[in-house]
Amino acid sequence: MASLHTVNKSPFSINSLKSCLEHANDGDTILLIEDGIYGALKGSEISQIVADKIGSLSIIALEPDMKARGIDSSKILTGIITTNYDGFVELAAKHDVCQAWL
């Protein structure tokens, strides 16, 4: 069984991403949406924590939310891929259960 976790908060103000990273099981996917996409930034104080999990977890950022916030792929950590809403739906269908980190 694998879970899709969604994180929608900035890691710089709320601990959702950190908590999600600590609870997700190997093989799970974390999708960063809304303000959650700030967790994908490279060179931030939490980048290393996120980067260390890439590989055992898939970490994906939602492109429409990145674009809205002026963030393109060059600004995010290597190993984090991006997707659109169709991809979001596909991820949800592909995983056994979806858990939102509100």
Binding site: M1, N25, Q99, W101, L102
Partner: protein, 136 residues
Amino acid sequence: MSEQVKKFLYVNRKAPYGTIYALESLEVVLIGAAFDQDVSLAFIDDGVFQLTKGQDTKEIGVKNFSPTYRALGDYEVTKLYVEKESLIERGLSTDDLQELTYEDEDDDWAEKPSIRIVSRKEMGELMGNQDVVLSF
């Protein structure tokens, strides 16, 4: 009512009173109990503050719903998983939590604790073994 039994996990990550999520989560749990599903509750991060004893809301004018957790056993909601690390990070121990129990019908109605303290790793595994996860 459906004959299908799914594993439902209610994840509580927020403290009571500052926002309504804890109360409205409890309302879902109480209604959900009538559906005979396999229900577990998880308390992590600030969610552990929901279960502390000694809550007195008189002076803020908000309803104190902490006694309701003690009624969960009567609704056959008997699995309340509380994360050890979340307690420790907040300077809490199990002594700070209400004593919650249920009567086990498979064991001559013996009174048993509903709260199960688990590690973060165990909590992650529990989360990964559900059919429906509702987050509040």
